[in-house]
């Protein structure tokens, strides 16, 4: 119990620190929202600076400490206010969230599954054809930045071959519905960003899974299994992989937390209107309320997943509870 309360306490302290950093960073960025509107939108008379400063409260010098406590209170109560475009921040985030969860969440799971599976097979037939080809290949790809892989795929499949769409989440002009054709359209648009994410992340899972597996395969109880004459798939899955996957599961829980934040580059590359793209525009628009809320969402996602992983470890491994 002491372990759990310590973890929860650490979670709260980290959350507070993150909130505070989140409060400070946007405020030290050069420029303000009014200048950002002038810099961003065409057709705005420079004389609008005065009106915009009033609108965004730029020259209203409030006590920073009071603003800080207001901000903490608003974060705790979920009042994020309006974006620079005058839309409720929550509405904006909720409308983009499904696209990011759908794209990055699903690909994270797929990458984990592929990585684990290839890692297990590779270790089992160490030095075999599969082991000689896939792990090194994917590990090399994993060292590329995700936007580079994305651009490469775009160049080949969208620009040169023209097989797949260039950008966006579905075709311009189609009305979102639950029809098969619309779902198909969404999937077609997700292919390239999804592949980029999978090839880049799968390599890391292969690497760690293969290593864990090799260590586990050297254990006595695996030899015991062989000696008993068990079928080889049963030894591979039930004896070796089941134990080897434990450290990876913790890593996976943490990786899920990064799903939201990790999407910025890929959504930018593919103009995919999810949270990552929203984060990019909020930064260039100097949209403080939106930026802060997104930071908060990212931080919370990571912290909650780490906490869950910690708690899960405590549940699975009795040794940690006394630590």
């Amino acid at each position: 119990m002491r372990y759990v309360s310590r973890r929860v306490g650490l979670f709260l302290i980290t959350l507070w620190a993150a909130l505070t950093v989140n409060f400070i960073i946007p405020r030290v960025m050069p420029g303000n929202e009014a200048q950002a509107v002038l810099a961003t939108f065409r057709n705005v008379n420079p004389a609008a600076l005065h009106a915009l400063e009033i609108e965004f409260g730029v020259n209203v010098h409030q006590n920073l400490l009071i603003t800080y406590f207001q901000y903490i209170w608003n974060c705790l109560t979920g009042q994020f206010g309006l974006t620079a475009q005058r839309v409720p921040v929550l509405t904006e985030i909720i409308s983009k969230l499904p696209w990011t969860l759908g794209l990055v969440g699903v690909t994270t799971v797929i990458a984990f599954a592929i990585g684990t599976f290839v890692g297990v097979l590779g270790a089992w037939r160490r030095g075999g054809k599969l082991d000689g080809l896939l792990p090194p290949l994917l590990f090399i790809v994993a060292s590329f930045p995700v936007f580079f892989v994305g651009l490469l795929l775009l160049f080949v499949f969208a620009v040169t071959l023209n097989w797949l769409p260039l950008s966006s989440n579905y075709s311009i002009g189609t009305e979102p519905s639950l029809s098969l054709s619309f779902i198909g359209d969404v999937l077609v648009h997700a292919i390239l960003p999804a592949i980029s994410l999978i090839v880049v992340t799968a390599g890391l899972w292969i690497y760690s899974m293969r290593n864990n597996m090799i260590t586990t395969l050297a254990e006595d109880y695996v030899k015991m299994g062989r000696a008993k004459g068990l079928k080889s798939w049963r030894i591979m899955i039930d004896y070796a992989a089941r134990n080897a996957i434990l450290p990876n599961l913790t890593g996976f829980a943490m990786q899920l937390g990064y799903v939201l934040g990790g999407s910025i580059l890929i959504e930018y590359t593919f103009s995919y209107p999810g949270l990552g793209y929203l984060f990019y525009t909020s930064t260039t628009d100097h949209d403080l309320p939106l930026m802060q809320a997104l930071f908060l969402v990212y931080t919370l996602a990571v912290l909650v997943c780490v906490l869950l992983a910690d708690l899960a470890t405590a549940g699975l491994d009795p040794r940690t509870r006394d630590a």
């Binding site: 810099a39 939108f41 004389a47 009106a51 005058r86 950008s167 311009i172």
Partner: protein, 572 residues
Amino acid sequence: MVSTWRTNLRRFKPMTVLVVAGVLAAACGSATTANSGGTANTGKVGGKLLIDNESGSTWTCQFNPFNPSVNITSIGFIYEPLEFINILQTNPDGTPKVTPWLATASSWSSDFKTLTMTIRSGVKWSDGSPFSANDVLYTFNALKADPALDLNALWSVDSGPLTNVTLQGSDQVVFTFNAPAESYFYYVADQTPIVPQHIWSTQDQTKLDTYADTAPVGTGPYLMSNCSQDNIKYLRNTKYWQSKPGHPVPQVAEVDYPAFLSNTSANLYLAQGQAQWGAQYIPNIQSYYINKSPSTRHYWFPPTLNVSLFPNLNNPLLSNLAVRQAISMAIDRSQVSQRGESGYEPAANQTGIVLPTYKAWYEKSLDTTTYSPSKAESTLQAAGFTKGSDGIYANAQGQKLSFSIKTISGYTDWDASLQVITQELKAVGIEVTVQDEDSTPYTNDTQNGTFQLAYGEMPVAGPGPYYELRPLLFSGSIGSTNYERYRSTSTDALFNQYSGATPAQQLTIIHEISAVMAQDLPVIPVVEGVDWYQYDTTNFGGWPTPSNPYAQPPVWATPDNGMVLTQLYPVS
């Protein structure tokens, strides 16, 4: 190749593919034979027009015409101005062409301090309520009640000249100013959309800037029929006030405005022929767009604003006229136009008058624009600068002519232009290094004067060079648009006279200011920024063309877009 720079609707500049031989310097496509501009009404109604303009973010489905991040989707379509002023067309006396819109007439008092506008009768809001002078009165007073709406700083409380708006009789609105305000006519008549009192007055009058206006009721040619994050669908307003029996206005039945997040996707959509009205920067437009259907696809890039080098006049070296003269003479503007801007943006001149758009205001005898590296060097030498062993000139105190130029990152055509400029300045012994910045810090730095040289342009054009030159040179604009921090009481006086002057006097004033630009070189214009505009005549006619420039053609130019929408007609 794949970029998500917000290009066109927003002020972001495009990723430029470098100069391709064969791209014409001519800033226009082949002229269309379609007649347009108020004469051609075929009596037919139909068709679906698609607009193609990168927006950089998805639609918020708000239509508040005073919210600068969304008003390009409501002004012109739904909300209309009192009069339409065409900045691209002038009357023989040099005054801009004015078309009465929600007002039928307007007149100034002789001292230009009182403006009386007669409001059109018989106009109805799209919900059926009658439109009246009260709506006009309400709109202007709303700008006073919530200063955040006063985007053109009209009211005296927002440092403008407007002090009072009253009703005279039942159909006239009288604007009273505390100083001659002729130059404010553009902002009052053309740049202020009129909103319905019966709807807007029910909102919190001090927070109208946050009013979402998701179901807009306007007087305009279109009704917002459906809005999602990625598309706005407009249907024609069947009861539009310009419609007469046998003369339906507008004639295009449906207009769709998709949200394009990237320039690439917007360009592709246009090239595939799916959209008809483009406002896109397209590298290699001839092969990428025009050649796919040369008889129906056209482009026209009318110049409206100078892209200039801003010397910070607080800098002791740049405040030296000889240095600025040398910089101006060292730059071969046509080279910058060709190599930096693919010839799409023509070379500018030192008088600051954008040609051919404002040719009525241009006086050739004043123009000092010369390209002469040798004269640039002799000017520096005459001013006491000597060339060091590194080939860079320095003054007697040993201060080298070595400067940084701030520009906006992502504006790759500007980067290409600056590469040309850097080489040309280097050739005459002036060293410059380009410093790319994000647009918001760039705006912050240029406004606050933390730069040596800056490359950039004014945000918006108006009906005449005054609307660009005043923000550029008036000392009261230091801290906002007078980036270079030019101070001259005589120039300020010229600007102050302008708003109380007759058209002939205004022309003289602009000539005097041109002379200041040409002699003092407070700003060094390099090329002329243009409006990107493409159109396809396969399904629709009535487009603005170089021979019939009846409105500023890009769809983000409001309320010009409304003018274009009333002129387009379906062809079959």
